[in-house]
Symmetry: C2
Subunit: 310 residues, 2 copies
């Protein structure tokens, strides 16, 4: 169901990072594809099923990456795609959604407001609502990353996964725990968007009133109960990291790995930076899940301060 | 013979570049691996053969990428690797060669001086000399890129290939001309290092006294006659591009494709920028052959001038 362009992505050790992080680091790179994030693995499954059997129109809420991926997957299958996003979403992501010929509706609020609006659009138009992380196809798509990780490198001690709505964490986590249970699954969220991590720790849904992070791809406030249930089954830990660590991670990946990444994709490196003792000497794999950045913001993040570059 | 980590690299359309270039653009990405360039495809073949049958010590001259790749391939096979390079070579590349535990000898001259010194070292020590582009294994390794291009995308009109010593151009070119002869093979060199292009045009070796380009990976002055002979069989054209176009290409790949590339890897985009009419409406594949940049130089290239960013 999934176009091969999104599969069998690079997985390699990045030794240039290792002296700076104190552990063995492998990168699973999900950015070298037409939508520059892992999200198309899931939208390819969604769109394939719809193209075969379902309605021809579909709507989703998105911080930007899911919308871009659904637009790509839908376009090639003749589906009519509508994306609802916050008007504060990454301009680069919104531009790509428009360029891929999807309808784009902006709401005057955050991602959770976009989710509410997408539900209303689906109901009003009678079209299919795709709910990231809740719809199992989005998790199954992400899970193929887990299959590739387990297949190629059973020697990892730990897999670091960005935690947002939960599709990536539950998808990859499920496969890892089923096929390589000795590998630790650690989810990472920004301190500025901690709802799912707090929920995981308390084993029941915790919401927050706002978010405050540059990691737009994981900035949710209202965890989905069913996704939390799944996360409780597969995550060994959930940790929170500071904004400064996310920026340091982005800069380190640029300077020493030659990789442009969006903030969410630097969460794994940020977690190592904040927990050096915990990961010392271990072999850690981190999923670099997206590279869709606003160019000017990215330059600001990675260029200053030059002097304190790790 | 070749570690799978270097094979089946991403090949994907990059639509965000297309409005700016006026043609369909596919990227073959050779940077998401442990040495951040395509060169290990060749050194894996070299090192495998040596590990099986040959001497245990080997020397090469390198602008940096071949040396890094040979160091990587040799280390995992217990070979003793010596790299001879110019003391003006990219500091990042030299650092990586040292980090990979190869012996590194610097000469007070350019790449051609390093080549002479490597010949002398091989003779004096009685060890194997690896000559990039002349030794057929280096071309065969590069040729596997051609196999992946032809296999995955027979719809290309043109393949754009950086031209330095010639291993990449002759290797990929040979496969493309054998298996997809209708696809045009265009080689690109900087105006500041035009020896092989001038040689191709005159059909006999032309040398230059110096080079003047930021594209360190392709800055040779003395084409190898046997490599020119091969290039004459497979290249449909060889074009020269200005430094400003190389920088514009690097910036465009950063801003619109999220890719860090070294100057040599931007030659294909530079060629499109300088020949828009020629490529208009065509489907062009360009091999992004390396991403090993000195961080400070890279920042300088892509950050200024902000205002004239394409």
């Amino acid at each position: 169901m999934i176009d091969p362009v999104f599969l069998d992505t690079p997985l390699y050790r990045c030794e240039a990072l290792e002296p700076r992080l104190g552990c063995t680091v492998s990168i699973k790179l999900e950015t070298a594809n037409p939508v520059r994030s892992f999200k198309a693995r899931g939208t390819e499954v969604v769109a394939s099923l719809l193209a075969d059997h379902g309605p021809r129109a579909v709507v989703c809420a998105s911080a930007g990456n899911l919308g871009q991926a659904l637009a790509w997957s839908g376009r090639s299958r003749g589906l009519e795609v509508t994306v609802v996003a916050s008007r504060f979403a990454s301009a680069a992501k919104l531009d790509r959604i428009r360029a891929l010929e999807a309808g784009l509706e902006l709401v005057d609020g955050d991602f959770e407001m976009a989710r509410e609006r997408a539900v209303a659009v689906a109901r009003h138009e009678g079209i299919r609502l795709v709910e990231d992380s809740l719809d199992i196809e989005t998790c199954e798509g992400a899970a193929t990353i887990g299959l590739e990780l387990v297949d190629r490198a059973p020697s990892f001690d730990t897999v670091l996964i960005a935690l947002g709505g939960g599709a990536l964490a539950t998808g990859v986590g499920h496969v890892v725990k089923a096929l390589a249970p000795e590998v630790e699954v650690v989810c990472i969220q920004p301190l500025g968007a901690p709802a799912m991590t707090h929920s995981w720790r308390r084993r029941s849904v915790v919401t927050t009133d706002s978010t405050d992070t540059i990691a737009d791809g994981v900035a949710g406030r209202r965890p989905i109960p069913a996704v939390l249930d799944d996360l409780l089954l597969v995550a060994d830990d959930a940790v929170l990291v500071e904004e400064a660590s996310i920026i340091a991670g982005m800069r380190m990946l640029l300077d020493h790995a030659g990789l442009v990444v969006e903030p969410s994709a630097a969460l794994g490196i940020a977690a190592i930076l904040e927990n050096r003792d915990r990961f010392a000497g271990r072999h850690v794999a981190t999923v670099v899940c997206g590279s869709n950045v606003d160019v000017d913001a990215y330059r600001r993040w990675v260029n200053t301060p030059f002097t304190s570059r790790p």
